[in-house]
């Protein structure tokens, strides 16, 4: 008896002592975003009793994977409601798993919306429902970003969603910007931020300057889309002729040993609307120099329609 009383007293003392240590360690781990998982009542409701218990017992990640697989079965069965429920659970259980957020958003905003587009006959309802799916996808990405503020992938996906689905180029540009500020990002995110900005009414000047920065940085940035955006803006902003990019490209065409890339750039200029005789002339000169067969030469501006990418 004596032993038991003493033992329980010691346990009690330890319990009080450990309390603040555990509490601080939890905080510390939360800070490294380690213990991002905290069982909440709503998670329990979603995960179902069995999954919840297993999730607590060290099998959280494994159970999340299992539910993820179930979500994909639901996809094959075209059950988008069920998919969303399962995606919510998976992401709640494993909030640091970027793939979960990314694919959940993609399934909703792309596949789900496409399904509506193909199956909803009433155009008004169709539009509303599709928008609903876009918003669900956006919500996944935004929650994912909350749990993973360092992820460039989620910002990139969010930018694409704003650009392609919601047609909100200002927000798209901002999301791409965020992506390009994060470690591990791929180069194109910076480009996409500027491209999206070019489509925002009222911010043409700013967009032009950013595009020009890209243009002046290196010839590797001389892509068709960049040329198209810059040439559009040159016209809109009435940029003086001597500052237009075709001059730089024509000058570049004279650089020895760069014939191949210079010709590609000239071609892209023409395709994106350049009608300058100097450009055409330079292109033709290179065609001759490089012996490009007639059928592969760039078509005359007169034969062109509006350039597309």
């Amino acid at each position: 008896m004596k032993g038991r009383v003493l033992g329980i007293l010691v346990l009690l003392a330890w319990g009080v002592a450990k309390f603040s240590f555990e509490s601080r360690l939890e905080q510390r781990m939360e800070n490294t975003r380690l213990g991002g998982f905290k069982p909440t009542v709503s998670l329990r409701q979603q995960a179902g009793q069995a999954g919840f218990i297993a999730a607590l017992g060290g099998l959280r990640a494994a159970v999340a994977d299992l539910l993820w697989i179930r979500a994909h079965t639901a996809w094959h069965d075209v059950q988008y409601g069920r998919m969303k429920l399962l995606f919510d659970t998976c992401t709640a259980m494993q909030p640091r798993r970027i793939l979960f957020w990314d694919l959940s958003a993609w399934h909703m905003a792309w596949n789900g919306a496409a399904h509506i587009e193909n199956h909803e006959p009433d155009p008004v309802v169709r539009k509303a429902k599709m928008r609903e799916f876009f918003m669900v996808g956006k919500d996944f990405l935004q929650r994912g970003i909350e749990s993973n503020p360092d992820s460039w992938e989620l910002y990139e996906r969010l930018g694409t969603l704003y650009k392609d689905k919601l047609k909100d180029f200002e927000r798209a540009s901002k999301a791409y910007d965020e992506a390009s500020n994060r470690p591990g990002h791929l180069e194109y995110t910076r480009r996409f931020a500027a491209y999206a900005l070019a489509e925002v009414p009222g911010r043409e000047r700013e967009a032009y300057e950013r595009l020009m920065t890209l243009f002046n940085e290196s010839e590797h940035e001389w892509l068709l889309t960049l040329f198209r955006h810059i040439q559009n803006l040159e016209a809109k902003l009435a940029i003086p002729d001597e500052q237009r990019i075709w001059r730089t490209v024509v000058k570049f065409a004279g650089t020895p040993g760069k014939a191949g890339s210079a010709y590609a750039a000239l071609t892209d200029l023409i395709k994106t609307g350049s009608r300058e005789p100097a450009v055409i002339e330079a292109a033709r000169a290179l065609e001759q120099k490089m012996d490009i067969p007639a059928e592969r030469r760039v078509k005359l501006p007169a034969q062109d329609k509006r350039p597309t990418d």
Binding site: M1, K2, G3, R4, L6, G7, V10, L11, L12, W14, G15, V16, K18, F19, F21, E22, S23, L25, E26, R28, M29, T32, R33, L34, G35, G36, F37, K38, P39, T40, V41, I53, L56, G57, G58, L59, R60, A61, A62, V63, A64, D65, W68, I69, H72, Q94, R96, R97, I98, L99, L103, G184, L186, Y188
Partner: protein
């Protein structure tokens, strides 16, 4: 028994009696280890091996992204559950068996203190757990290596080159990380804490089954500690908590170890790097639990009628 009586008496060893002798403790630990090995506890590992193979086959049959991560998640999860079960089941048997067979009488009738006996038993189980963890880790690494290869192949086939290179580099540098091994270390540590807890419980429990059930319940409740603590520290989200539940949750916070802190592995597969100081703190906390459990177990055991 027809031989002649023994020769010269064994040299006098009755020098000063040490309060705690490593030699005696080690004898008990080694014996516990040997006894468990001969009881074929490692058959348990065979089940783990089969589980790994099964998981691999299952994962292979579902073809979409994240196979490597799934394998990692499932294997680490299985490891943490297996070591925990092994710790509880192997430890729960020790005392009841010694009492039932009355081997405890012969051991404690030697100049062995009950504390040495408990430490020895725990050390023996720790050795078993160490060997089991090493075996499981070896099997796990082989499986992981195989799946890393598969993942890289997949990425080469499916991703656009610009993304593939980055993704492959990530898979290569992100699979066998120091955090992964740290996490396995935490799994091992947690299993010792579970063993210590079980040993403490078996010091006052009267049956094997009771020990197992109570231990598992405490460990399970350990995963609720963060939630219980948040009740203590403030309102739990929007949920209404009735008084008796609040009291229960407070008891849990005080008497139950926070198992969630030992649950690092769930996050490791995601590729989060855990700082060394977190591991040190977890280890420190685990050591604290072990000492307390041993001491309290000894308090229970010292006054116990055998």
């Amino acid at each position: 028994m027809t031989t002649e009586s023994s020769g010269p008496a064994v040299a006098a060893h009755a020098s000063a009696h040490k309060l705690f002798s490593l030699r005696r403790t080690w004898a008990i630990a080694a014996n516990t280890f040997r006894d468990l090995v001969r009881q074929k506890v490692f058959y348990f590992m065979l089940v783990f091996g089969l589980f790994l193979i099964g998981t691999s086959l299952l994962t292979a049959s579902i073809s979409f992204q994240g196979q490597l991560q799934t394998v990692m998640d499932v294997c680490l999860g299985a490891m943490s559950v297996f070591t925990m079960l092994l710790a509880v089941l192997a430890t729960a048997m020790l005392l009841p068996k010694d009492m039932e067979d009355r081997t405890l009488y012969t051991i404690l009738a030697k100049p062995v203190s009950r504390f040495e006996y408990l430490v020895g038993k725990l050390a023996g189980v720790t050795m078993i757990l160490l060997v089991a963890t090493l075996l499981m880790t070896a099997a796990f690494l082989v499986v992981l290596y195989f799946w890393q290869g598969r993942e890289i192949e997949n990425l080469q086939l499916t991703e656009m080159p610009e993304r593939a290179a980055a993704a492959i580099a990530k898979v290569k540098s992100g699979t066998f990380t120091s955090t992964l091994f740290g996490g396995i270390g935490v799994i091992f540590f947690r299993s010792i804490v579970c063993a210590g807890l079980t040993l403490m419980i078996s010091c006052f429990s009267t049956s094997w089954l009771f020990t197992v059930i109570i231990s598992l319940m405490v460990i399970f409740a350990g995963y609720l500690v963060p939630m219980a603590r948040s009740v203590w520290q403030g309102p739990l989200g929007t949920a209404e908590v009735p008084t008796h539940t609040a009291i229960l949750l407070r008891l849990i916070t005080v008497f139950v170890p926070d198992m969630q802190l030992f649950n690092v592995v769930d996050d490791i597969a995601v590729g989060i790097n855990v700082d060394a100081d977190v591991f040190v703190r977890i280890a420190g906390l685990g050591a604290g639990y072990l000492l307390v459990y041993l001491f309290v177990g000894w308090l229970f055991f010292a006054w116990r009628e055998l």
